[in-house]
């Protein structure tokens, strides 16, 4: 009846997961009760859960990322503290638990923090920057988000029911095969990533189509803001790379569930084929994460330097070059496989070449700042912190791209330090810069400035103290994923690294405080101009938060930095009475399809993990039926009448002009 599931799946004898999940469960229950008692449930259902508005979906993606960041960071703190005390002792985490923690940490941070964070920001901002009213496929957008949430949910369920993978964030066979990992851990990993991978693919298709086919009049390719370009490159990579992940994990599933022989030791299976396939996805994935961050920094640096982006066209070229070359370097993840000097040399050179366009970008940002009136607002702090940190991470990456050096450093803590250096210093700093920069656009008030600065400094200093020792440890020969050790020289460095993690924790606490206090003081922090940072691209041309239709009249673009030009024209010639011809606007109707579909996907995923076959069928039929019902509906749009559009738009414009040009209010 319940497949492999019984009470022994719940780890009642292990205090850490039980207490953690108990507290989290109580918190979730508390929030749900509070929401229900206060009567917010209908509001949540109508305005958020079933919303197909790209802005709302973007906010939900970002929120998911920030919540999962807490979970992933809790894992990090446990690993750092375990290694700080596990010298000549077992520490407090038994090996099988420690192995689950580092696997969950990597999986969560990559798939459920970094990915939803960048996809959320792209969703929120790209249609606004392109000057259009929505993404190409609004309902699919909602489906994509909820499937991502399903994946995150399944990973977290593994904390209480059963176990998570002990194989690392990529399940390398033969360890991940049934023979060596008979439990449900790897199955949790596989199904949560298959389901959320479909969500990511949907988001990718949606955003590629949006950028290529939905741009306002005059927004030719070479007038798009840099963030739109990096969004295009990232989502092209998603479309081209994620199917490889889906196929590879499907093969491992077939091995585990039906006894196929793709990656097994016997009957001709090929383990190294898994390495090749997974990294053919995995290396583009690195750029899927970092390219949007590059876009965010381009916007931030240009805005806070008060200058157009230096070398815009070279930036476009660099972005697209990275997009292509990122598919030609995957083998540098396993130089030690023994493919031979010629193959290793080719991939080593390709890996060094990909640093060139990245270097071009760094110089472009520096030259954008050069001669500009730089304002060191919080997003700009993250950008400058990024440039310094990312260069160090990039250089250690080039070092690892040299095959002989890689043979020495492979799977050592040097590698760990390198990729945290680029992922934290690049992706996460970029996400935080974008979060601070676009928060007023999404909600209509700024984040508290002082607390944001404090969070930045704790993160930056904490990062260096946590990860620079790992470079040293790599040279001292410490390999990754060690539950305990007996080398005396390693100990002090690991203690310092743990202290650094503590500083980052302080930074995170400041970020939580910043959000809470900003919400409480939102009236003081209110942005009535719609353009709090003196921005340059079209997202600042509409109100904060934007009306559901984004733009009452689609803006006509006449050059790069479209909104900056518009502002310059208005400053030169005082605006006449703002007269416009408004028209009815068609907007897509909200739909519960995404949520219902994800519900059935969760049921199906859970049932597949525990081999509860009747429930698998029920979940599958439910998900398909949801789509058929959705396909059958007759009215998928509603009309906002011209008069209503005019009222909203005139109120917004009057307020903006009154603030921009005092005395002009009529």
């Amino acid at each position: 009846m319940l497949g492999k599931l019984d009470w022994s799946a719940v780890p009642l004898d292990q205090p850490i997961p039980m207490i953690t999940s108990g507290v989290v469960g109580l918190a979730i229950l508390g929030v749900l009760v509070w929401v229900a008692v206060k009567g917010h449930l209908p509001y949540l259902w109508k305005e958020w859960i079933t919303s197909v508005d790209h802005k709302r979906i973007g906010v939900m993606y970002t929120l998911l990322a920030m919540v999962m960041l807490l979970r992933g960071f809790a894992d990090a703190i446990m690993m750092r503290s375990q290694q700080a005390i596990a010298y000549h002792s077992q520490g407090y985490l038994p090996p099988e638990h420690f192995n689950q923690i580092f696997s969950a940490h990597g999986t969560i941070m990559v798939f459920f923090v970094a990915m939803p964070f960048v996809i959320g920001l792209m969703n929120l901002i790209v249609p606004l920057q392109l000057g259009v009213r929505d993404v190409a496929f609004p309902t699919l957008n909602s489906v994509g988000f909820w499937l991502t949430a399903t994946g995150a949910l399944l990973v977290n369920i593994s904390l209480v029911v059963g176990e998570f993978a002990r194989t690392g964030w990529l399940p390398f066979p033969p360890l991940s095969e049934l023979t060596y990992s008979p439990g449900v851990g790897v199955d949790y990993y596989l199904w949560s990533l298959e389901i959320s991978g479909i969500g990511t693919l949907v988001a990718g298709i949606n955003l590629v189509t949006t950028v290529l086919k939905l741009r306002t009049g005059g927004m030719s390719y070479l007038r798009m803001p840099m963030f739109c370009w990096t969004t295009l490159a990232t989502n092209l990579l998603i479309v081209a790379a994620f199917p490889i992940l889906t196929a590879t994990l499907a093969m491992l599933i077939l091995d585990r569930y039906f006894g196929f022989h793709f990656f097994t030791n016997e009957a001709g299976g090929n383990v190294m084929m898994f390495m090749n396939l997974i990294w053919a996805w995995g290396h583009p994935e690195v750029y899927i994460l970092v390219l949007p961050a590059f876009g965010i920094f381009s916007e931030v640096v240009s805005t806070f330097s008060g200058k157009p982006l230096f070398g815009y066209r070279s930036m476009v070229l660099a972005t697209m070059a990275i997009c292509v070359i990122s598919f030609m370097v995957w083998l540098h993840h396993f130089f030690t496989m023994g493919a031979g000097p010629d193959v290793n040399a080719i991939f080593g050179i390709a890996s060094m070449i990909i640093a060139v366009p990245t270097g071009v970008k760094i110089y472009n940002w520096l030259f954008t700042m050069y001669g500009g009136r730089v304002r060191f607002e919080t997003p700009m702090l993250w950008a400058v912190g990024f440039m310094v940190t990312f260069i160090i991470g990039g250089l250690t990456g080039v070092l690892l791209a040299v095959p002989p050096a890689d043979f020495l450093l492979h799977n050592s803590l040097f590698l760990i330090a390198h990729f945290h250096n680029v992922i934290i210093g690049g992706v996460l700093f970029g996400a935080f810069a974008g979060y601070t920069y676009w928060f007023p656009k999404a909600f209509g008030f700024r984040l508290h400035d002082g607390l944001g600065r404090a969070a930045f400094w704790f993160w930056l200093v904490g990062f260096y103290i946590a990860f620079m020792p790992l470079y040293v440890l790599g040279f001292l020969g410490m390999t990754r994923r060690m539950q305990h050790y007996d080398v005396a020289e390693w100990r002090p460095w690991l203690v310092v690294a743990a202290a650094g993690a503590g500083l980052i924790l302080t930074g995170i606490i400041f970020q939580i405080l910043q959000l809470v206090i900003s919400i409480r003081r939102r009236e003081e922090l209110r942005d009535r101009t719609g353009d709090p940072w003196d921005g340059r691209s079209l997202e600042w041309a509409t109100a904060s938060p934007p009306p559901v239709f984004n733009f009452a009249i689609l803006p006509a673009v006449q050059g790069e930095d479209a909104y900056w030009q518009q502002k310059s024209r208005i400053k030169q010639q005082a605006p006449e009475k703002y007269e416009s011809r408004y028209e009815d606007i068609e907007m897509p109707r909200n739909s519960p399809t995404g949520f219902v579909c994800a519900f059935f996907a969760t049921v199906m995923g859970f049932a597949l993990i525990w081999h509860i076959w009747w429930m698998v069928i029920a979940g599958f039929v439910g998900a398909v039926a949801t789509f058929v019902v959705f396909a059958w509906r007759d009215h998928d749009e509603y009309i906002i009448p011209a008069a209503e559009v005019a009222r909203i738009d005139q109120a917004n414009l009057t307020e903006r002009y009154a603030l921009a040009i005092p005395g002009s209010a009529s």
Binding site: L214, V239, I244, T246, A247, F262, A267, G268, G269
Partner: protein
Amino acid sequence: MSDTAVAFPGSDPRQLRSMTGIVEHSGPASKRIVTGYGFWIFILSDMVMFSAFFATYAVLLGQTAGGPSGHDLFDLRNVAIETGFLLASSFTCGLASIAADARHTVWFQLAMAITCALGLCFLAIELREFTDLVARGAGPTRSAFLSAFFTLVGCHGLHVSAGILWLLTMMAQVFAKGFRADIQRRILCFALFWHALDIIWIAVFTVVYLIGSAR
């Protein structure tokens, strides 16, 4: 290009811009284009997924673990008939698209019904081949080569099955709602999907069966 045109990029006295193809961008595309384009991108991603399975098949082709190879197992005459059914279904699917454009219900339903029947014949032959192989002890668990074979060909078969469900849904939708704009867009996507499955089958025929039976 004259010097004036270079000095003032905004002015364009000789309409050089439109001649060189840099036409002023005129705003968001129509829904039909957006839907078709987006679906086409999906098909590309699907082909990338197939390419991973093709690569796997190529790597594992010789890994028969002492079991039967493609040369022992594949019946090319059978596969040729199978291919004939699928290609013919693509032709009738094209006829259905023409009928949908002409908003001719009877021809549309007829062409779709024939497409469905041809697709089912294809699936029946494939299923018979699979059950036959399993009965001869050459199932997917026999060797890495057979794992790759069953996965690649089976994945295509699953796509065809999903396509047939979609086809039936479209017939029902046209019957219930007529050739509405959104239904026309779905028919366009369905046709793209069905033809893409043909393209993939050509690769399956060549790589799996022709090259596979040479080993």
